[in-house]
């Protein structure tokens, strides 16, 4: 027996609209995603002529630039990683919840400060100042961690009433005036130390004893400026990883008699390790690709030198300066596109690695019974 043939139903207008809209959305969505993917395809396509050229000499032009990129990124990471991770550890584990909910937007704002502004401050304000006060700057780098420890020691010695007034969970805020005072002390002390210990001018000493040149805009400045720009992104991801640790883990450790610091060092850091790793990776990706800060704060001299007091030129800065002048189709044009391709591949790979690691971590937290 055959089933009765149903009368053919004409699609009502609503369903027709729905079909059309779905089709349009699908087409639009796939189109947008393809357009985004086209970036990689375009860059790879435009570097193919270099293969046909087979000119290895041309490639060697890029190597000082690659070195400059690496040097700038390393300098920035040396400055940013300890500060960002320290801040993340403190705000995830020690800070009062109210301060934390205020601090996160503040650091988000720090991330939003445009690179061109940071570069301007670094190149035209910070660089001349550091050139005149090199000894003070180097002293500050040693002095500030020391002053934080000093603050801790003083706090432990202080009366209980004062301790209640200035609790450790708010230290991120009330340490600011303390640090300002300590910076002032260091600046006051530095010329004296420079005079008595180093016998005058540190820069002249560097030049005469070690033969180190000092360029106004150098890797040190780039490190500080780009570190400033990278701190918030490392902080945000590392803080997320640390704050999402299932609370049962930390509570269990503390119930077994671990101090807060031991719980952090032995339990929290190993658990959140992948998350922190991915945070640092994403920070490195940002540091490698940042253009304006390097362009404005580095002096743009393509040198092979490991000295932190000499200038550098990065791939991204070279692209920004030279590509508008390069004639399309010429050797320089293709070389610069190769530079762009390597930046693209590097950041893409690093970010993918970080993302995969982060998703593993999220699954691990889920298994451990924390928040998803």
């Amino acid at each position: 027996m055959t089933s009765p043939r149903l009368p053919r139903v004409y699609l009502p207008l609503r369903q027709l609209q729905d079909r059309i809209a779905t089709g349009l959305i699908t087409a639009g969505g796939i189109g947008v995603l393809l357009a985004i993917l086209a970036i990689g395809v375009f860059l790879a396509w435009e570097t193919l002529p270099l293969l046909a050229l087979g000119d290895t000499f041309a490639l060697s032009k890029l190597s000082p630039l690659a070195w400059g990129t690496l040097k700038a990124a390393i300098a920035a990471m040396l400055f940013a990683t300890p500060i960002a991770l320290g801040a993340a550890i403190y705000s995830a584990l020690f800070m009062s919840a109210r301060l934390r909910s205020r601090l996160k937007p503040a650091l988000e704002l720090m991330e939003a400060v445009p690179g061109v502004v940071v570069g301007f401050i670094a190149g035209l304000v910070l660089a001349p100042w550091v050139e005149r006060h090199l000894a003070s700057t180097l002293l500050l780098i040693v002095w500030l961690p020391f002053s934080a420890i000093l603050a801790g020691a003083l706090w432990h010695l202080a009366a209980a009433r004062l301790r209640r007034r200035l609790p450790h969970s708010w230290a991120g805020l009330w340490l600011i005036p303390w640090l300002v005072c300590m910076v002032a002390v260091a600046l006051w002390l530095a010329p004296w130390l420079e005079h008595h210990l180093l016998g005058g001018d540190l820069r002249r000493l560097l030049d005469q004893q070690y033969g180190m040149d000092y360029a106004t805009r150098n890797a040190l400045i780039v490190g500080i400026a780009m570190g400033f720009a990278v701190i918030p992104s490392i902080y945000a991801l590392a803080e997320d990883a640390l704050a999402d640790i299932p609370p049962t883990l930390m509570e269990g450790a503390q119930a077994l008699g671990a101090s807060r610091w031991q719980a952090l060092w032995k339990v929290a850091l190993p658990t959140a390790g992948p998350g922190i790793f991915s945070a640092v990776m994403i920070g490195a990706g940002r540091a490698v690709g940042e253009t304006m800060i390097v362009l404005m704060a580095s002096g743009n001299t393509a040198l092979f030198s490991a000295s932190p007091f000499e200038g550098l030129r990065s791939l991204s800065a070279a692209i920004a300066i030279e590509l508008p002048e390069a004639s399309p189709g010429g050797l320089t044009y293709h070389l610069l596109i190769l530079a762009a391709l390597s930046l693209f591949l590097f950041t893409f790979l690093v970010n993918t690695l970080a993302e995969v690691v982060r998703q593993r971590l999220r699954r691990r937290y889920h298994r451990l019974g924390g928040r998803p």
Binding site: T22, T26, G28, G29, V32, L33, A35, I36, A38, I39, F42, E46, I83, L85, A87, S91, F94, P105, A106, L107, L109, M110, A112, P114, G115, V116, V117, F120, V125, P145, G152, H156, H168, A171, G172, L175, I176, L179, I231, Y235, R260, W261, I282, R286, V288, G289, T291, L295, M296, I319, A320, L323, P328, L336, I337, A340, F344, T347, F348, V350
Partner: protein
């Protein structure tokens, strides 16, 4: 291992539990301190520039007299003591705008009330004294001259008539200055506090509303503001529909499998790709590829001078739209994912088609998230400079991209941008020293715009989370 004594155990505990947390706390404090220092520096230097500065008349031990605005003091390079930088203006007479004077050489220092400062179109500022005004054969001195100049400058340039200012500089050099070339007239030492506040407000307004003068070392940034805003508006018009479309497709229509998972990771990662790479793509594909073809097809009579085959407003907005697409997609997707499936199922159960479910239930609920994404995208685009250097920003655009000439919106024109304006004046200007205060003001303006946009996004997101609860 030797067991620790009770006392040393406690010491180790103190080291462990007391020391490291303080270092970590100091990291937070240091980050906040750096941010605060940056913002304070920008605010004080950027806003302080507009304050009518006191002019000093300095008599040197050698007998010379210098009139100028003290700028800063630094230690002398060789001897002990300080030297002070004065802005003396009068580039047509002295040949330079600046003069360094050792503080020890100053024998007298006064601030007479009759010192004036003029802003002129050629040669920049004049600093000195007013002797008289000659207007149509009439010679005015004293208060009458002041009143005449004030009323004349308030009128538009065409009605000022021809009149000359007779001026004298500090060292007695006389000068005849046509009033038509003077844009601003001030006697800062004679001003009361209230007048200074008014003058400060006027200066801020002139900075925001006027075009640059004297190779970007003076004047305002209005064309740069206009260019930035226009470019950002065009960009959001392009990025919003496409970003939302892609997010809806990814989240609502595509089958959730390994491929969509990979695509999602890819989109997320594109947000981390350096902006300069997008600039390279924009230059290669939009400018040279599409722009070049358009030129060949439609504007071939104007070749070899390119119309669309060079950087311009359209290509810049397209490039930035591509750059900010991931931001919009990710934010919208987050908003869509937060909407509980029960809402969708409820709508479909009541007989809605998918389109109706999307437009009447899902999208209204996801609107704040979309808005957050667009605001974040705008904030990112407003501060981005590197890709624009490749696809169409200009240090001084002769024509605005929007004017009364058909077709009113000129997409192929180059435009000025606040961030690039800042970079260019600070690093490629002729007289960087003179431009620095303006650069500070520009930087402050840029940071304010970006921060306000970001704060809006943060509050919007906060509002959204509170309204919806954190869990759904």
């Amino acid at each position: 291992m030797k067991p620790l004594s009770e006392q040393s155990k406690r010491r180790v505990n103190w080291l462990n539990d007391g020391l490291w947390p303080w270092l970590c706390a100091a990291c937070v404090a240091l980050s906040l301190l750096m941010l605060a220092a940056l913002l304070t520096l920008l605010a004080t230097r950027g806003l302080g520039h507009f304050w009518p500065a006191t002019l000093e008349e300095v008599t040197l031990t050698s007998g010379d007299i210098v009139i100028g605005q003290p700028v800063r003091e630094t230690p002398l390079p060789l001897n002990a003591g300080m030297e002070r930088l004065y802005f003396t203006g009068n580039r047509d007479i002295n040949g330079a705008n600046w003069r360094w004077i050792a503080v020890d050489d100053i024998s007298a220092q006064t601030t007479p009330n009759d010192l004036i400062r003029l802003e002129r179109t050629p040669w920049g500022d004049f600093i000195g004294r007013l002797v008289a005004v000659e207007s149509d054969g009439q010679r005015l001195t004293g208060q009458a001259a002041w009143d005449y100049i004030t009323t004349a400058l308030a009128q538009p340039a065409s009605q000022q008539g021809s009149s000359d200012l007779l001026l004298i500089t500090a060292d007695g050099h006389a000068l005849r200055q046509p009033l038509s070339n003077v844009s601003h007239f001030q006697a800062p030492n004679a001003m009361s506090w209230g007048q200074k506040v008014t003058a400060w407000g006027q200066n801020v307004w002139r900075f925001l509303s006027e075009g640059p003068r004297a190779a970007n070392t003076g004047g305002g940034v209005w064309p740069a503001i206009f260019g930035t805003v226009l470019m950002v508006i065009l960009m959001s018009v392009i990025v919003t529909p496409f970003g939302v479309l892609a997010a809806i497709y990814l989240n609502e229509i595509a089958h959730q499998n390994r491929l969509t998972h990979l695509v999602r990771i890819g989109v997320r990662n594109l947000a981390g790709v350096p902006s300069i790479v997008y600039g390279v793509f924009g230059l290669g594909v939009f400018v040279y590829g599409i722009g070049g073809s358009i030129d060949n097809w439609f504007f071939s009579d104007e070749l070899p001078s390119p119309t669309f085959g060079t950087g311009g407003l359209l290509w810049a907005s397209l490039t930035l739209a591509l750059l900010t697409l991931p931001v919009v997609i990710v934010a919208t997707e987050e908003g869509l994912a937060r909407i509980p499936d029960a809402q969708r199922e409820g709508a479909v159960a009541l007989g809605a088609t998918r389109l109706e479910m999307l437009t009447r239930v899902v999208l209204p609920m996801a609107t704040p998230a979309m808005l957050t994404g667009v605001i974040l995208a705008v904030a990112r685009a407003a501060g981005e400079v590197a890709p624009l250097m490749l696809v169409g920003v200009a240090k001084l655009a002769p024509q605005m991209p929007l004017d009364g000439e058909f077709p009113y919106l000129h997409l192929e024109r180059k435009f000025m941008h606040l961030g690039y304006h800042l970079f260019d004046t600070a690093f490629h200007g002729e007289d960087v020293q003179a431009a620095i205060p303006l650069v500070y003001a520009t930087a402050l303006l840029l940071v304010l715009i970006v921060l306000v946009l970001n704060l809006t996004a943060i509050f919007l997101r906060h509002y959204l989370r509170r309204q919806r609860g954190n869990e759904c």
